[in-house]
């Protein structure tokens, strides 16, 4: 009960941010170059025809009126329709969100699996060769533009070595998608008991996920190292050492459990950052996610998908933060009380 109320309160306090996002996106999309009416009117339309279409789309109204209409549509769950795909934005996003989410999550898991141990080792062997090496490797990963990393990986692992499957999205062209349950092909294929599709999905995921993971290594490793260093230097670790607890218990049980708190906060930021970076990676790997969807829309001045995308992402981000807060509370009893 209390938890539910707290979650409710958190959501209410997030509302101004959502409102802010809606207003800013609306204004930003209105000053995008490009004329929707001209687009609809077709290549040979006369100015009069364009004006007529403009009126029909309601684009001749003043901005406040347009905004009210937009908000009204939103309230009814109508996100508008995309010019580029011709579909309702909500349908597009629902169809594409799982692809992005699956990609980013796999990337995040991959990054965490590598970066956290790296960070711990670097902290334990502070200022050693291995510490410097971790730092250089992780920093190198974050220093390359993601699209460039992606293309390099495609070139090496697909084009030259032939180890990776063709960069054609979530599944091989001739494989069919598993029956939709979660929208995550990895999960859906397992649910359907289709190991072949599962392997195919995984194969398609490796390169794009690695591209993103390489990018995410540095912040996670850096934060893990820093948090571990400060926790390892703290009094209670000294107490634990003085009590003869084994290094394993001290490092993993005592130090890491405390250090994981700032790491989780970082993970939240990295997640939203990866969702942004996935925009470029999706373009490279022809990944049918919402990132590439939004970019195409933005370039085409197709504002309904852009607005829908940003709104969905904002809500996702807020939910993500909520999850982090809950997780934080599970780990840290101090937060639970004063939340």
């Amino acid at each position: 009960m209390r938890v539910a109320r707290q979650i409710g309160q958190r959501l209410v306090t997030a509302l101004p941010s959502v409102a802010g996002v809606i207003v800013v996106t609306f204004l930003l999309t209105r000053i995008l170059p490009g004329d929707t009416a001209a687009y609809f009117a077709g290549p040979a339309a006369t100015p009069a025809a364009i004006e007529e279409i403009r009126a029909r789309l309601g684009l001749d109204q003043t901005l406040p009126v347009q905004f009210l209409r937009y908000v009204g549509d939103l309230a009814r769950g109508d996100f508008g329709a995309s010019l580029t795909t011709g579909q309702p934005v909500l349908a597009d996003i629902t169809a594409r969100l799982p692809a992005s989410a699956e990609l980013v999550l796999v990337a995040l898991v991959l990054a965490v699996a590598i970066a956290v141990p790296l960070g711990i080792i670097a902290a334990l062997k502070e200022r050693s060769l291995i510490d410097h090496a971790c730092r250089v490797v992780a920093t190198a990963g974050v220093s390359l533009p993601v699209f460039f990393t992606g293309l390099l990986l495609v070139y090496v692992f697909y084009y030259i070595l032939g180890w990776a499957p063709s960069p054609l999205g979530r599944l091989d062209v001739f494989a069919s998608a598993p029956p939709t349950a979660s929208g995550f092909f990895l999960i859906d294929s397992l649910l359907a008991g289709d190991v072949e599709t599962f392997r195919a999905t995984l194969a398609q995921l490796v390169l794009p996920a690695a591209t993103l993971a390489i990018f995410a290594l540095a912040p996670i490793a850096r934060m893990t190292r820093g948090a571990m260093l400060s926790v390892l230097g703290s009094d209670f670790v000294r107490t634990a050492r003085a009590a003869g607890l084994s290094p394993n218990t001290v490092v993993m049980g005592y130090a890491f459990r405390n250090a994981v708190l700032p790491v989780i906060t970082t993970l939240g930021m990295v997640f939203s950052f990866l969702l942004g970076a996935s925009v470029l990676v999706e373009k490279v790997f022809a990944w049918p996610g919402i990132g590439s969807y939004a970019v195409e829309a933005l370039i085409a001045s197709d504002y309904a998908p852009v607005q829908g995308f940003v709104l969905v992402m904002a809500v996702l981000y807020l939910l993500l933060n909520l999850c982090i807060d809950i997780l934080y509370g599970l780990i840290d009893p101090r937060v639970r009380i004063d939340a």
């Binding site: 101004p16 220093s143 370039i299 001045s301 995308f309 904002a314």
Partner: protein
């Protein structure tokens, strides 16, 4: 001894101490030393670049299109026969300008807003906090894209976009740091000494937060260059034919598959080197300013 003489001597002693410490950090940590060297190289290149290059970075030469690296063209040539080495070198200045100005802008806006929020609390804090939350709720790269797409792809707008997406980071960092210090003894002492809030913010709190901000600024400089590269990849980079690393990588990227690896690789490596340098520098600066390491 004149007052001016004293203050100079004093400044010198403070400066030498800092320099000594910096030298210590650089020599003790080879990676940081390397980063500092790289940084110096970048600065020198940015200043002298255009007068050093062997070719006009804008001059096309259809007879030398897409030449691989050679003694004449160290980094090869691009599709229009322009010398990639010259372009990479000349681009340093623009990329550094993008990096430095976006950091300056975001520091001025985000840093000051954050310090005020942390120090005053209350409504200031709430407004700055909401602003930061709202920006954070955007997928940041898409927001940057949106800003550049809406305002036009000029250097100024790329700088603005980078500054805007980094605003929350600075505001939050500065807020947290100012907040720890708002009740510190020296701030109370400053109030007892008759300092107004504004003076306390600018002359007492800001100088203490600066070192921590400098670390962040170093990281942001790297991010600014990456951001510009990402924008170039989706066609929102600076105007051609201006050489800029990101746009060179983006334009050369397609050529990797067809075997013209040098077109993207050299600008890519340079870009990576610069971002790498800024990131490592951030760590290095952290070592220098970290009072715990300084005895």
């Amino acid at each position: 001894m004149s007052a001016a003489g004293i203050s100079e001597a004093r400044a010198a002693s403070g400066l030498t101490a800092t320099l000594q410490h910096a030298r210590h950090v650089i020599t003790e940590n080879p990676v940081t030393g390397f980063a500092f060297a790289l940084f110096l190289l970048l600065v020198v290149t940015a200043i002298l670049g255009p007068s050093l290059v062997p070719y006009d970075p804008l001059a096309t030469d259809s007879s030398a299109s897409l030449r691989p690296p050679s003694a004449r063209h160290w980094f090869g040539t691009d599709q229009l026969g322009r010398d990639i080495f010259s372009r990479v070198v000349v681009a340093t200045r623009l990329d550094m300008i993008i990096a430095v100005t976006s950091v300056a802008v975001v520091f001025a806006a985000g840093g000051l807003a954050g310090i005020a929020a942390g120090y005053f609390g209350g409504w200031t804090d709430r407004i700055v906090g909401r602003l930061a939350d709202t920006i954070m709720a955007f997928p940041l790269f898409v927001l940057a894209m949106g800003i550049v797409a809406a305002l036009g792809n000029t250097v100024t707008n790329i700088v603005i976009a980078t500054a805007v997406v980094n605003f929350p980071l600075y505001a939050r960092l500065a807020r947290a740091e100012a907040n720890i210090r708002r009740d510190a003894g020296f701030v109370m002492a400053a109030r007892l000494s008759g300092n107004t809030d504004l003076r306390i913010l600018l002359f007492h709190i800001l100088p203490n937060i600066l070192p921590i901000m400098v670390v962040q600024m170093s990281l942001t400089m790297g991010y600014a260059i990456l951001n510009a590269a990402g924008l170039s990849f989706i066609g929102l980079g600076v105007r051609p034919p201006t050489p800029e690393w990101g746009i060179m990588v983006a334009e050369g990227a397609a050529g990797i598959i067809s075997g013209e690896w040098w077109v993207a690789l050299f600008p890519g490596l340079t870009l990576m080197g610069a971002v790498f340098c800024f990131n490592l520098l951030g760590d290095g600066v952290r070592d220098i300013v970290d009072p715990q390491r300084r005895t």
